[in-house]
């Protein structure tokens, strides 16, 4: 039996839903805002700079993916369809995996659309390259690295939302908590920095929010807090991912379905 049929099923559940399309269209409309805005204020940027700047708006892709990830497991419970889904000749972990893969595929597709739109708009609106005010001072970070770093952040957050979806079996709760986590991360770190003594700040470097944004290493190899490195952050994120996936697995595979 072909496991990819399960993934295909999950993709259809996402794609056939009207709300997915509404949100995706909003995302598509929102994607090229940065190039358009930069054109309007009429500062001479080079196209690569514009593309780099456009990732300030990548959070709309993350939000969209978080919504999809939050719904993936919990909506089966709220609809009651979980009872028909889990009585097929597939172990529960395979069904869970197919859901996780479909959510990741969706976020990848949204990312690709976002990047392509921004590349197109950047090169249409800023055709003349060379006399950029930014690239004169420092070189623009590599496009592929920018995409990869941003996507890693998206992937970790999606995994959180997916975990919450499976843990609470409630869409509203998992969307709210994962988006809160996304936006509150840096604020929390700032507060810790203000109120904690130097010697007590050590734990900050193990927090998820400290390591989530890998683009911080474009500016400094020791990160925003001057206490981490790229390799360290990747390691921390990996550990978090393993814990999240373990919690997701346990809450989906081992618990009774009473919905």
């Amino acid at each position: 039996m072909d496991f990819w049929r399960l993934v295909h099923n999950e993709n259809l559940k996402i794609v056939l839903k009207k709300s997915t399309w509404i949100l995706t269209i909003l995302m598509i409309i929102g994607s090229p805002i940065v190039p358009i805005f930069l054109k309007l204020i009429d500062i001479p940027f080079s196209a690569p700079d514009v593309i780099y700047q456009s990732f300030n708006l990548y959070f709309i892709v993350i939000m969209l993916s978080l919504i999809i990830a939050s719904e993936s497991v919990s909506s089966e419970f709220s609809r009651g369809t979980i009872k028909l889904l889990l009585i097929r000749p597939w172990d529960r972990w395979k069904i869970l995996l197919s859901k996780y893969i479909s959510v990741i595929l969706f976020s990848l597709a949204a990312t690709i659309v976002f990047v392509i739109l921004n590349i197109i708009f950047a090169y249409i609106l800023f055709p003349a390259s060379g006399n950029s005010i930014l690239s004169a001072a420092s070189s623009t970070p590599d496009l592929v690295l920018t995409i990869v770093y941003n996507y890693i952040r998206a992937l970790v957050l999606i995994t959180v939302a997916f975990m919450l979806s499976s843990l609470f079996r409630s869409t509203a709760l998992s969307i709210t908590i994962s988006i809160l986590l996304y936006f509150s991360g840096n604020t929390l770190n700032g507060i810790f920095r203000l109120f904690l003594e130097q010697e007590h700040r050590e734990f900050i470097k193990y927090l998820l929010s400290t390591n989530l944004d890998l683009t911080q290493y474009f500016a400094s190899p020791t990160g925003t807090f001057g206490m981490t490195s790229l390799g360290f952050s990747l390691g921390v994120l990996l550990v978090y991912m393993i814990v999240f996936i373990a919690i997701t697995w346990f809450s989906f595979v081992k618990r009774d379905v009473r919905a």
Partner: protein, 333 residues
């Protein structure tokens, strides 16, 4: 009892032109129970919901699972299909443990647990294709076949959100039948259905057992329904199995022919009946007597020839409902 003219279930329908090889062999020849509950218990938070349930479900029958609300019917069914874990004991489906060989065991099962919930934003067919992709050997042609069997062909390309409850129930039956299960499990299938829908469901089940040899396990708290639908029933209350019995078997029907049963005669002059026969009891305008069939006819002849008007002759049968109440009384609350 069966209406072959029912448009929804034509008697000529063959859902299984080439049944799975082993299902054909087992049918009839093999007397292995389709489901074996082996000392099954379920404890949640210190509360025993199912208490050492041991029960065999024979093949090819419509088997009823009867009990008042909260007796443990749904819990039992959820353990059967692996939605809930089993605290103690085991459940074998076609000889395979649902605990240790889930994929093999569940492949033999089609089920509707409570209401058939569907993806409302998809069409009926898109919903069925979801489940078709998850079972081996279910091709689009089989999907058409099942859609026809449950009589949804005309509306299958419409969104489920436009369906009535009866149509959703039919779609639920369709998804449960796609993979030609040996065992069909229905949890409170008549909930929310109108009499027409209940009747259709009953006809599907009969057609299935008759034509495919499917075993049907159906839970309900509605006695009258069970009496019409089932070949045998198990009664459960407070998580314990109370009784297992066959309903209207041929042997029972034959025994009825010679057995003496209590019979009520409705007469215009019941007192004269006692004078003539010097047996029986009078109550109002009825006369009650223990008699077999032959004797009933003789009494009738006697009364008529003596100018007593006979309005009605009725056997007194304890209904299943009386028996059920008797069984579950005391165990409650």
């Amino acid at each position: 009892m069966e209406s072959n003219s029912n448009p929804v279930v034509p008697s000529t329908v063959h859902i299984s032109k080439d049944p799975m090889p082993d299902s054909n062999e087992h049918h009839g020849a093999n007397h292995l129970p389709v489901v074996q509950f082996q000392n099954v218990s379920k404890v949640i938070g210190g509360k025993t919901l199912i208490d050492h349930l041991t029960l065999d479900i024979p093949a090819g029958k419509v088997f009823g699972f009867l009990g008042p609300n909260g007796a443990g019917k749904t819990t039992t069914i959820r353990m059967m299909v692996g939605l809930m874990s089993i605290t103690e004991g085991d459940i074998l489906i076609d000889g395979q443990s649902i605990r240790t060989h889930f994929e093999e065991a569940i492949a033999k099962v089609g089920a509707i647990v409570e209401n058939p919930e569907m993806y409302k934003y998809m069409t009926g067919r898109q919903n069925l294709m979801q489940y078709a992709r998850m079972s081996p050997g279910v091709d689009p042609q089989r999907v058409e076949e099942v859609v026809q069997f449950v009589g949804l062909t005309g509306r299958i390309h419409e969104k489920v959100s436009t369906y009535s409850l009866g149509m959703r129930q039919r779609l639920g039956v369709a998804q449960a039948l796609l993979h030609r299960p040996k065992l069909l499990i229905l949890d409170e299938p008549t909930n929310g259905l109108d009499p027409q829908g209940i009747r259709e469901l009953r006809d599907y089940l009969r057609a299935l057992t008759r034509e495919e040899g499917t075993t049907v396990f159906v839970s309900s708290h509605l006695l009258a329904e069970m009496e019409l639908m089932c070949d045998a029933i198990a009664v459960i209350d407070g998580g314990k199995l109370i009784d297992v019995r066959e309903l209207h078997t041929t042997a029972e029907a034959e025994a009825d022919l010679i057995a003496k049963t209590a019979v009520i005669f409705e007469l215009d002059q019941p007192e004269r009946a006692v004078e003539l026969t010097s047996v029986g009891q009078v109550q109002g305008n009825t006369w009650t007597i223990e008699a077999d069939r032959q004797q009933v006819a003789q009494f009738n002849m006697l009364f008529v020839s003596n100018g007593i008007a006979v309005y009605a002759i009725r056997p007194i049968k304890r209904s299943l409902e009386d028996q059920f109440l008797e069984l579950t009384r005391g165990g409650q609350l």
